[in-house]
Symmetry: C2
């Protein structure tokens, strides 16, 4: 448009109604610090406003929404992030994850981070048992971290976390003492491999004692997630990989409460009779093995 | 549609991408407790998802948004509601308010509640000074509460709150002791009138020490609201009236940070030389008077 022939548009600033208010808010951001900020906020405002108009949102519903978001914030701690759980259960996290990791040239698929990742995980040596003292069927994990050409990535940081065999994360145990349990950080060996011992995780309900629980009950949705182990793998020169491995056969693979299941991430946790375990020990109970090869994507040149 | 000829639609549940996830989430709410809940949530989910797709929201932007909402919740207390302030500064509150109070047959106009309303306000007798001990030009208020036919409404509850002459609410004073200041509840007299003494409020910045302040700075928006006095009037048989009276001549009437200004609510705060005040006392300084007639709307038959 030619700014010389375009008449200045005088934004209405008083007596705004449910239609004119949208342009008024967007116009107020004309001098936003960055074009990206302006674009994202303008789109957010237009969609939020259109949502309210479309359903003719009542004042009681607005009040409920304000209170809902306030409680979600209040409930969030470094160990339990209710706002992430909200994003997860609305499918918003899966949308953002998949949109940002579209092309797959053999690289491992991503899925949601979830609300239970904790900073400051403990670093372990290969062969460590990260579930020491927690009951459950032993599981010997052997994963590798590789570049698309198959080369091992030795300087990767592999952050692992998962629930116990009852479906509880460490932080959800009633007698939790603040320790890290069923969590660990590893560095691959020369072959790209990471090996550790833990227990088989179980499917579990996402926390229902907060606003997200209210949302699930109001919409008659079950809160279950299929059993899985989380991995977050960072390595210089590669995009971070945030993903899970799901337990094949889990009854909730087709109705994950956070919409995160991907076929390529469903893995057989192979069952073995008591006897020689992969770590050289003898296991007196039956045990499981989990093997998977992660392939990282090269980081885009900046 | 004839359900006999309509083939069952099998919802996709795995390998969801940024498009298919939307229908999957909406489908999951098929058995929602009420049709209204289902409709409101489906619209919210569709608009939120479309927003993210439209701007191709990055994972870093998602993380920022999660953190922003979490901090807004953490910051909210009964005295300071950051999530309401967010709704206000995005024009969302004005949209909802105006959409829910569309027709005006002489009834007073509504505007936003704002983040500073406090429950448990103190009840005063007519003529009370609700700003006792706070400096500022005296203001003698005389408002009436009437039905559309002009009849006084004697059983109304008139809840008033406003800032001081520096622009601070009681709760924002550094040495605030928890008391209610520049706030009061009144019952109209036989003529529908409510009379009290206070001070003239000033224009002021909305709080900028939280996420909303970040939003205003990022979009180069000033944080000012034109000076005003809040009123919330409830009476049996009438719709609640939530409104302000704005000080005529205020420099921010055309750029209210929360988009709440309505011409019908801009009022002359009339200036008077020292001398006889409306309450029968003698005022040794110049003083102001504020007069306004509120007209409530009959409640809709249930």
């Amino acid at each position: 448009m030619n700014s010389q022939t375009q008449p200045e548009r005088q934004a209405v600033t008083r007596d705004l109604d449910e239609f004119s208010v949208t342009d008024a808010v967007v116009a107020r951001m004309a001098n936003a610090r960055s074009a990206r900020t302006k674009r994202v906020l303008a789109a957010l405002i237009r969609h939020l406003h259109e949502f309210a108009r479309e359903v003719e949102l009542t004042e009681a519903e607005w009040e409920y929404g304000i209170d809902f978001l306030t409680r979600a914030g209040h409930m969030s701690t470094p160990e339990r992030q209710e706002v992430i759980l909200l994003s997860d259960t609305l499918g918003f996290s899966t949308l953002v994850t998949q949109m940002n990791h579209r092309s797959h040239n053999g690289e491992s698929e991503q899925t949601v981070l979830g609300p239970f990742h904790r900073a400051g995980n403990i670093r372990y040596e290969h062969g460590a048992n990260i579930s020491e003292g927690i009951d459950g069927p032993p599981c010997f994990v052997n994963v590798t971290v590789r570049a698309p050409d198959g080369a091992p990535i030795r300087d990767a940081t592999v952050d692992v976390w998962h629930s116990d065999h009852e479906g509880y994360y460490d932080v959800a145990h009633e007698e939790w003492d603040g320790d890290m349990r069923m969590r660990g950080i590893f560095t691959p060996d020369a072959t790209g491999a990471v090996r550790f011992r833990t227990i088989v995780p179980a499917s579990y309900p996402v926390p229902q004692d907060g606003p997200v629980g209210e949302l699930l009950r109001a919409t008659a949705r079950h809160p279950m997630r299929p059993a899985h182990v989380h991995f977050k793998i960072d390595a210089p020169g590669f995009d971070p990989l945030v993903t899970h491995l799901f337990v094949n056969g889990d009854p909730y693979l087709d109705s994950d409460a956070v919409f995160g299941v991907r076929n390529a991430l469903i893995v057989d946790f192979a069952r073995h009779a008591p006897g020689d375990a992969p770590d050289g020990s003898v296991c007196e109970t039956e045990f499981f093995t989990l093997d998977y090869d992660f392939v990282l994507r090269h980081a885009s040149p900046v």
